[in-house]
């Protein structure tokens, strides 16, 4: 895995780039349901530099998967609002037509390893065909050279080459996961969105996949957005951490600042609820449940569960910059 | 926390009511049921009364304006007939004879709800003589001059009741065999599955016809009605049993079934109190969707002359006239097709309702998980 491969040699990304790889501003994605409008992604802004990994942490139902879909514009039918800016290499792609977005963003700039990647492979097509497919579509390759590249990508993530001739159901969960990662890598995009990439896997397989992802980041200079609820695992990859709560980011900062010392009361509670293997510390939990994304409370959305709530929390706090380049959406840091 | 507890039944009902076509279907079914329950009362004649002088009479026109164009209480003109050059009877309105339509008139005696003897009919001309020219045949008459409207209403009783009745039997069979098969598995399961396979390896209609042909011709109408229900239900239980078996196979492995088992619940308790309620939505939906098939099967059977037979009648049986001299009947007596539209409306209504119910119960069904 260490030796320089052909795929690797073709990398010439990132260096000397003026604008960040990805800039998201005020991104909103609301859905219409019979109960009302779900504000799944509510004014999310962040910047991701190249060869960086951003871990987006949140509990189930906080809108983190919707955020991934909003970035790749994979919208369901019942979209209510989809607005904001998504800049890739300084270019706002939001006004782009569906066709242009499909051709110039999907899998050329950004690829994705979707949640429950086991189901991301089409059961009736050969794994190799599915890995090679983006090359044929986006790079106009013929089938033979596309397969050759697919084989390289497979080797890179540790999938034996003869597995490409098989179908998804013939592979174990870990192998399927690797195949999906190979598929995300094959067109050499700058950014890979990883949506709970290991949550269904065993501890050892999970650790193996994490090693693969680290290798790819290190050797191929890729950027990641890692979406997960598993705080311990997120630390294996993250350069930056964003905490998502009820459709919004409540904290954003560098990994080395965040893990030892989270700022937002929610982040603190969340961190305190993580059981440790090597450290004996009392655990904490958050009473109550997250607010509904239909008609979320005005003001701070965490206020109802917050131990340090005070009168100002009736109003919605802005993202407040704290020293060290950290951002936190909490009045305590005003 | 302020939300009131809502059971799944209530949720399903709410979701169902949002479905406009489904609700419409439900309303139509209620209307048709009322129509057939009060059939004797609503129909102006007894369904067997033969108006010998008015064979193949076309639907009677109801007039609201008299000869001079003035608005009038609704009336019909007297009916007279003559032969055309080919010898067919042609009916004409005799504008000299005016018969006003009356409500709650005395007519052929009948028993309301098969119980209360009476002879009051909702409407009519009040003429008791079957050969009087003052007749009101809303849908025309058949080859022996029976009023098709009255016959259609009465026939609806058979057409609409045969579905639910046959379904009740076949569902009981299906729950019993499907339940045993799915919950206990093993040898019984194998045997029941093979049974269903053999049953399913015959196409429905031919086997239905062959079975119906077993019924000897001279049976009393009530008996042959019951036997036809039996035949329909024997053919119908296989598919549902198979689906229920699948459901039970899934359900018995569900965590809550295991929990009940760990609590020490008996098999009977697990099946009836814990598992069966979960299949209820499936059963209701498959029942609603099963009824149209049964109505159609009965209609086909009776149409072909193997089902309900004279003097009893059903919508399919009313169309039986077309199996002989099809072209003549179509060309000269097209009103005989009217009962067919009732079949369509009833089946459509059940289909819409079943579809809406399926949508409404979908997220609550076990298969989804």
């Amino acid at each position: 895995m260490r030796e320089k491969t052909d795929v690797q040699n073709r990398i010439a990304t990132g260096q000397g780039r003026a604008s960040p790889l990805l800039r998201v501003e005020e991104l909103k994605l609301y859905f219409r349901t019979t109960q009302g409008v779900v504000q799944a992604v509510d004014s999310i802004s962040f910047v991701l530099e190249s060869n960086q990994a951003l871990a987006i942490l949140g509990e189930s139902g906080c809108g983190k998967t919707s955020l991934a879909r909003a970035i790749l514009r994979l919208l369901p039918r019942n979209v209510h609002t989809y607005s904001g800016r998504v800049e890739i290499d300084g270019v706002n792609v939001m006004p782009w037509s569906e066709e242009r977005f499909r051709k110039e963003v999907r899998w050329t700039k950004i690829s994705m390893v979707a949640q429950a990647a086991m189901n991301s492979l089409n059961p009736v097509l050969k794994v190799g065909d599915q890995i090679a497919e983006p090359l044929i579509i986006h790079k106009n390759m013929d089938k033979k050279s596309a397969w050759a590249r697919a084989r390289e990508a497979a080797q890179l993530v540790g999938v034996p080459v003869d597995f490409l001739q098989r179908y998804a159901f013939e592979l174990s969960g870990g192998m399927r996961q690797r195949a999906v990662i190979a598929m995300a890598l094959v067109t050499n995009p700058d950014l890979i969105i990883l949506d709970e990439p290991t949550s269904a896997l065993d501890v050892l397989t999970q650790a193996n996949i994490m090693n693969v992802l680290k290798n790819i980041k290190k050797d191929l200079q890729k950027s990641y957005i890692l979406i997960t609820h598993d705080i311990a695992t997120s630390s294996e990859l993250a350069d930056h951490v964003a905490i998502m709560y009820a459709g919004q980011f409540v904290e954003w900062g560098r990994a080395e600042d965040f893990y030892p010392n989270p700022l937002h009361p929610y982040s603190q509670k969340l961190m305190a609820s993580v059981p440790r293997l090597r450290e004996d510390r009392p655990l904490d939990f958050i009473a109550g449940r997250p607010p509904s994304l239909i008609n979320p409370p005005t003001g701070c959305r965490f206020a109802a569960r917050c131990p340090s709530k005070f009168s100002q929390c009736e109003q919605e706090p802005p993202m407040i910059a704290v020293q060290g380049g950290r951002l936190v959406k909490c009045w305590l840091y005003r | 926390m302020t939300e009131r507890p809502v059971s799944q039944g209530q949720l399903i009902w709410r979701r169902f009511r949002r479905h406009k076509l489904g609700t419409l279907g439900g309303i139509v079914i209620v209307l048709l049921t009322m129509l057939t329950l009060f059939a004797h009362f609503i129909s102006p004649y007894d369904y067997a009364t033969q108006h010998r002088r008015f064979a193949f009479a076309p639907p009677t026109k109801i007039h609201f304006f008299d000869k001079d164009g003035r608005l009038s209480w609704p009336f019909v003109y007297g009916l007279s007939r003559e032969r055309d050059p080919r010898g067919r009877w042609i009916y004409r309105e005799n504008t000299d004879q005016v018969y006003h339509i009356k409500f709650f008139v005395k007519g052929d005696p009948y028993r309301l709800f098969w119980l209360i003897p009476t002879d009051i009919h909702l409407f009519g001309t009040g003429e008791r003589d079957p050969n009087s020219p003052g007749q009101i045949f809303l849908f025309g008459t058949d080859d022996v001059g029976r009023d098709l409207f009255s016959r259609t209403l009465i026939g609806g009783w058979v057409s609409l009741s045969i579905g639910p009745l046959a379904l009740a039997i076949s569902l009981t069979l299906a729950i019993f065999f499907g339940g045993i098969s799915g919950y206990f598995g093993g040898g019984w399961d194998n045997l029941i599955q093979r049974m269903i396979e053999v049953l399913n390896s015959f196409p429905g209609l031919p086997l239905l016809l062959a079975l119906a042909a077993i019924l000897p011709p001279g049976l009393p109408p009530a008996i042959s009605f019951l036997l036809i229900i039996m035949i329909l239900s024997i053919l119908g239980w296989g598919g549902t049993a198979r689906a229920l078996r699948g459901l039970f196979l899934v359900l018995r492995e569900q965590e809550f079934a295991l929990a009940a088992k760990a609590m020490g619940a008996s098999n009977a308790r697990i099946i009836f109190k814990h598992l069966l309620p979960n299949t209820l939505s499936y059963i209701i939906v498959s029942a609603t969707l099963g009824i149209p098939g049964l109505i159609l099967a009965e209609a086909s059977l009776s149409f072909l002359g193997f089902g309900i037979r004279d003097p009893m009648t059903s919508w399919g049986q009313l169309l039986n006239q077309f199996t002989d001299s099809t072209i003549t009947n179509l060309t000269y007596h097209p009103w005989l097709m009217i009962p067919g539209f009732f079949i369509i409306i009833a089946v459509l209504a059940f289909n819409f309702m079943g579809d809406a119910l399926r949508d409404a119960t979908d997220p609550f069904s076990v298969q989804g998980r």
Partner: protein, 320 residues
């Protein structure tokens, strides 16, 4: 000595027949394949293993839901065979997926009444239901009595499942991955509830999990399960400090704590995947992945249980 043990499991095997089509038999899934251990009154132990190692089957066999193929389970010295009704009232079962574990068409009151009815609970049923709801902190009780499972949050559902398990005042609880389907912030709450109940009622608990990091907050002893066998048994602190089996060592190494330093380091993880339970490897089941593999021994002979230090058992030829 035997009699003071609440539960003893001796050489337990639970195999499932694999069928192919209507007739042919393709083999056996050896989900539990020779497991022995004993539990004292009031003891909490954890069984740790990856998914598919047979730990849920072990739980269900102990609960009497599956009949063992071979071996015995004794509860207070009495074997589990024949009619198990005497046993049902003394055990509680807490499952992984709380929503699936609750019958969707019953409300809270009905769900809690079921075990009382089934086991002929003598005494005030309503009062018992209230007591147990208060114990699991589903309060105020009136707010919950007539709710349906789909109206409760995941944490509340799991509390209800625990309440149901506790309502007959059992001596013994089997909790099969009770928190793995819950969000991180709720997990601790449920684990603490279970731990609190275990201590206050002097319950014996088997806590089954794939998540080693939660174990220290809950159990006194850990059993590590791999491919149908308990390969290592030790007190918690001893096992975390001094894991003996190469598999346990790998497992401990693979589990991260939230630490930014993780991003810079690579883990040493054995390659490959857990073996199939239909055709498990010969000899030690971990030998194809084991870094300390000794040819001619590990792939030939099944290692027996060794006890290198008191109370620390391991099935590995390294400690012979």
């Amino acid at each position: 000595m035997q009699d003071t043990m609440l539960l003893s499991v001796k050489d337990l095997h639970t195999h499932f027949e694999l069928r192919r089509g209507a007739f042919g038999r393709a083999g056996f899934v050896r989900a539990v394949d020779g497991v022995s251990f004993e539990l004292r009154h009031g003891e909490a132990i954890a069984v740790v293993g990856e998914s598919g190692c047979g730990k849920s089957t072990l739980a269900r066999t102990i609960l009497g839901l599956y009949r063992p193929t071979k071996g015995r389970v004794l509860f207070e010295g009495r074997p589990l065979d024949g009619d198990l009704r005497w046993y049902r009232a003394q055990i509680g079962y807490v499952q992984q997926d709380p929503y699936g574990a609750l019958p969707p068409f019953m409300d809270v009151h009905r769900i809690l009444t079921e075990p009382l009815v089934i086991n002929n609970f003598r005494g005030n049923r309503e009062q018992r239901i209230r007591e147990v709801l208060e114990e699991v902190k589903l309060t105020p009780v009136e707010d919950f009595l007539h709710k349906f499972p789909h109206q409760l949050s995941g944490g509340q559902q799991q509390r209800l499942v625990i309440a149901r398990a506790m309502i007959l005042k059992p001596k013994f609880i089997v909790a099969d991955e009770p928190v793995s389907m819950l969000d991180a912030s709720v997990r601790v709450e449920i684990l603490e509830l279970l731990r609190g109940l275990q201590r206050s009622h002097d319950l014996t608990v088997i806590y089954i999990t794939h998540d080693l990091s939660t174990v220290r907050y809950f159990a006194e002893r850990i059993f590590v399960m791999y491919a149908g066998k308990l390969i290592e048994k030790a007190p918690v602190s001893e096992l975390l400090k001094n894991p003996l089996h190469p598999y346990t060592q790998a497992l401990l190494a693979a589990i991260p704590d939230p630490d930014p330093a993780n991003a810079q380091t690579f883990k040493r993880v054995p390659p490959g995947e857990p073996p199939s339970l239909v055709n498990p490897p010969s000899g030690c089941r971990f030998h194809p992945r084991c870094p300390a593999f000794m040819a001619g021994l590990c792939d030939k002979e099944i290692p027996p249980e060794f006890e290198p230090s008191t109370g620390h058992f391991v099935e590995c030829w390294l400690y012979r």
